[in-house]
Amino acid sequence: MKDVKVHPFVKAHWDEIAPFHRKLFERVAKPLYILIASMLELPADYFISRNAYDKRSEDWLRWMMHPPRPREYYDAVESYGIGGHTDQSSLTLLFEQNVAGLQMLTTDGVWKWVKPVPGGITINAGELFSHLTKGYVKATIHRVHAPVDDQISEERLGCIYFSLMNVVSLNNHFNIRTAPLFALHLVRNCFAWGTSLKTS
């Protein structure tokens, strides 16, 4: 174990953030892992035992803020954004904040908006789950679209929980090595543009 430098603001609110994170795993991710295991006729704890939250959780929480921008901005940058992508997680949990932006690609090849549901948590499956189940679980392509006219002056906040299952357990049970891929390829492509990366 080693110390990790944490922003003083995050540290100041840690006692509220950490239990919430844990609750998301227990109350939302865990039931879903049980249901998907049952669909595959696997033991109920099949995926949970590989998540091993208490040993070393790979799950993480991400905050994102899209401050308001004028329409000209969105028109200009449209081709240069991240565009359609899948997540590298097994399950992604998204909290609704009402500003429409998320779109998913349907099987018909049409982009459709994901509607905010009051009290609901939006879930999507990612590449890790799809990989482990040989495509049974679908990792769907999605993107963030520019805001619509009546919400263009709103901030769009994202609070996203990525559940990844435990890489150490995965190494034991599935003999795959995910960490270098995440560190060097996916993470860089998805999250680290424009930062000075030390990849050596």
């Binding site: 922003h7 995050v10 840690w14 401050p67 240069y80 939006t122 901030e155």
Partner: protein
């Protein structure tokens, strides 16, 4: 000349966290994806897992997106988390960048400034992120530790 707001030093650990209020939903006619909603409030009752699994199967296999309700996490808890995140992003930039993201160094807990140029448009990206709040179950306020990746 009076100092501008940005010049007044801020202590990010004691800055108040205002209540978060969701913006109004859009009134525009958009093409919404039809998503399955599963209510897990009776998850532990007999037969319920089989029923939910049947309800969810198509979403898992073919749609990839679905909605979970009945999870027992109160909206006020969610709003509080959204409030904390918003308060962070509203800190002055010099405060936010004090702990920057450093993926190459296993130091993933930081803030990523919107510095990327959006192609030749002359604009920079707008999104700001705190991408890696990787939470360890045994962590506490005084000692936040994770094992190296």
């Amino acid at each position: 000349m009076a100092p501008s707001i940005a010049q007044i030093p801020v202590d990010s650990t004691t800055i108040p966290v205002p209540k978060y209020q969701r913006p109004q939903q859009t009134k525009e006619e958009l093409e919404w994806a039809p998503l399955v909603e599963i209510d897990i409030s009776r998850f532990d009752e007999p037969g319920e897992k089989q029923r939910l699994a049947a309800q969810l199967e198509d979403a898992v296999r073919n749609v990839g997106f679905w909605i979970v309700t009945g999870h027992g996490i109160k909206d006020e808890e969610v709003l509080r988390q959204l409030a904390i995140a918003t308060a962070f992003f509203h800190l002055p930039m010099e405060e936010k960048v004090k702990v920057p993201i450093d993926l190459g160094n296993d130091m993933n807990w930081g803030y990523r400034e919107p510095v990327r140029e959006m192609g030749p448009t002359g604009y920079k990206e707008s999104v700001e992120t705190v991408p890696y709040l990787l939470i360890d179950a045994h962590a506490s306020t005084n000692s936040i530790k994770i094992s190296p990746l």
